[in-house]
């Protein structure tokens, strides 16, 4: 990828980020509710104290000025202090982000691990049993309300069978010094297979809840793409060359058929990242989504603004990653 194209990417990022900032700022500004009152809650407080806090939060300035300050600071990577944690928003988000990333990645991997082989099998065995089962499974996958399904999973696997933990990220017996802050990876890196197993057991249910609808969509995409590819001339030509079936499927067909899957996976991962607060709530997963939703409810403006910007950046980055994958899969596309 040429540096020029990279500049283009960044240039593309800016209007999106600016737009997102404006929207989130305006939205928060128009939302009734006063963070100071929320913070003071039912406790002893005087009007002066409220005023002091308001000043601390910068809320005594006009909205436009606040937006200007926010933008200016954001450019330098400073997103201000979280109203309620009274620490830099950046730190607060950074602490919660790894959990969300780990969950999202796990869900993505799970979804890919389910959907690619299943999609390929369904296409190859078109209209046969596997195909029908995959179709039915996909339909269920996209039709399941995640919150409900999550609860059902907890009851089944955690409460009834006791195979898996109810909630949380890792057992306390495991103290693994952070490297990547992804518990599964860190425990492996630190040579603690027991902790890895534990972290994994915590990850399975929430990841499955998130992965299932995504796997459903991806399976369909993969199947359709594979069918299309299998019909194409170069597959016929590859057969005419007398290549083995395995080589035709996995080398000739799959590489091409992965392209749409990658696109859709990127989009889905984006929405996964921004939409897993429900699952985080159900499974007590200490991720960012829950934090953001809580922050909206308590009018923690700086945190919401920063998090939404982060999501937007991630969205653009994911598309970028998808583009890079394209070029690997399909040399015709150049960045």
């Amino acid at each position: 990828m040429k540096p020029l194209a990279l500049i283009g990417r960044i240039a593309q990022l800016l209007p999106v980020l600016l737009g997102v900032s404006v929207i989130v700022f305006v939205m928060m500004a128009l939302t009734p509710g006063d963070p100071v009152e929320i913070m003071l809650a039912d406790q002893q407080a005087t009007a002066e104290q409220a005023q002091v806090l308001r000043h601390d939060m910068g809320l005594d300035r006009p909205a436009l000025e606040r937006f200007g300050i926010f933008l200016g600071n954001a450019l330098t990577g400073n997103f201000g202090l979280s109203f309620f944690h009274r620490r830099p928003v950046f730190d607060v988000i950074a602490e919660r982000l790894p959990a969300t990333i780990e969950l999202t990645l796990a869900a993505l991997l799970l979804a890919l691990a389910i959907s690619i082989p299943l999609g390929v099998a369904a296409a190859v065995k078109k209209n046969r049993l596997v195909d029908r089962l995959a179709a039915i499974g996909s339909l269920f996958g996209v039709s399941l309300p995640g919150f409900w399904f999550g609860i059902i999973l907890i009851i089944l696997f955690a409460v009834q069978m006791r195979w898996l933990p109810v909630s949380g990220r890792m057992d306390f017996a495991c103290e693994v010094a952070p490297i990547t802050r992804l518990m599964t990876i860190d425990s492996l890196l630190r040579g603690r297979p027991d902790c890895f197993a534990d972290a994994l057991s915590h990850l399975i249910l929430p990841a499955l809840t998130l992965a299932l609808p995504m796997a459903a969509v991806l399976t369909r995409v993969q199947r359709a793409a594979m069918l299309e590819v299998l019909r194409s001339d170069y597959i016929v030509f590859a057969q005419a060359k007398g290549l083995s079936r395995r080589r035709i499927l996995w080398r000739h067909a799959l590489k091409n058929a992965l392209v749409p899957t990658v696109t859709v996976a990127a989009i889905e991962t984006g929405s996964l990242l921004g939409g897993n607060m429900v699952v985080e709530t159900v499974f007590g997963w200490p991720g960012l989504g829950r934090l953001v939703v809580e922050s909206i409810f308590v009018r923690n403006y700086p945190l919401v603004q920063a998090a939404v910007l982060l999501y937007a950046v991630t969205y653009v980055l994911l598309n970028f990653v998808a583009d890079i994958l394209y070029t690997l899969l399909n040399p015709r596309v150049r960045l």
């Binding site: 309300p145 199947r223 929405s271 969205y315």
Partner: protein, 300 residues
């Protein structure tokens, strides 16, 4: 060549519009028809709720709190699916709840599709700054995590059916807009569009009379799929506590309300959960049938 296969050996005298063909193809697919009928039944339930529901869905009776379904110990046949935490009949609430899900699903998808189609057409056909502006807005909205957007909007506007519809529409139009734009970009290069220009057809005519009818089927297909999404989204919003107003029963809020009792009074949230599953499943099956019928290149 493939066209040659499709055209029957002797041309039928009666005109067969492509749409009619698709409808015929759809109706020959038993599975999809069954799903469509299921959707229809839900619609009927919603419309006829006041006459069908065995009880007043809002009538509380604390003495019936968490009464189990009829077939379980302590259940009664007049409250077939049991009662919720305030002693309201779950079956009646599910029947009334279909009003919410279906109203929201339909309203959101209709409005969003209308907006998205017009904007997508404009962006795809006019190109230039119109395209840039619309595409940027689409990008911005796509970069905005959906649930957060909806939650913030709901916090801003307050809860209520109308506001939920609005909150969902605000972002939902992006999907049809993108689909339409993509289709228009392909369609505008087709020679029939150029032919229309060559005979001096005005822009609006080309956009709405030449291109639109041809891209309608992917739009319809996408819209039905989105309807399923929207219904789940509404349920999620209700689950997060910013859904429709009580005592209106929404399936999502019923699941949410009942989840505290899930270990013992599983029926409170399980039945509405199943209702969502069935409706969304039917819509999805039907939309897949639509896609196969309207877009034969997808069907396999």
């Amino acid at each position: 060549m493939s066209a040659a296969i499709q055209a029957p050996a002797t041309l039928p005298e009666q005109a067969e519009t492509p749409t009619w063909q698709s409808v015929k193809r759809f109706s020959s697919d038993g599975f999809s028809v069954a799903a469509a009928i299921a959707v229809l039944i839900f619609v009927l339930l919603a419309i006829l709720a006041p006459w069908i529901a065995p009880h007043d869905p809002y009538e509380t009776d604390l003495l019936r709190r968490l009464q189990p379904p009829a077939w379980m110990e302590g259940g009664e046949w007049s409250y077939v699916l049991g009662c919720d935490a305030l002693g309201r009949d779950i079956l009646s609430r599910i029947i009334y709840g279909s009003q919410v899900s279906i109203t929201i699903g339909l309203a959101v998808v209709l409005i969003a599709t209308a907006i998205g189609t017009v904007l997508g057409l404009a962006a795809g056909y006019m190109r230039g700054w119109v395209d840039i502006a619309i595409s940027r807005v689409v990008d911005i909205l796509l970069g905005f995590p959906y649930l957060i957007f909806a939650i913030a909007l709901m916090a801003m506007m307050g809860p209520g059916l109308q506001n939920i519809i609005l909150a969902l529409v605000y972002k939902e139009w992006v999907v049809p807009a993108r689909v339409v734009r993509g289709e228009v970009l392909a369609a505008r290069e087709m020679e029939y569009v150029e032919a229309a220009r060559a005979i001096g057809a005005p822009r609006l005519h080309i956009m709405f009379r030449e291109i639109l009818p041809n891209i309608l089927s992917p739009v319809i297909v996408v819209s039905t799929i989105r309807m399923a999404h929207v219904i789940i989204l509404e349920a999620s919003l209700s689950f997060l506590g910013i859904g429709v107003q009580p005592p209106t029963a929404s399936w999502g809020s019923m699941v949410a309300d009942g989840r505290g009792f899930i270990l013992d009074a599983w029926w409170v949230s399980t039945f509405p959960g199943i209702a969502i599953l069935i409706l969304v499943l039917s819509i999805n099956v039907a939309s897949q049938g639509l896609r196969d019928a309207f877009d034969p290149k997808f069907s396999d």
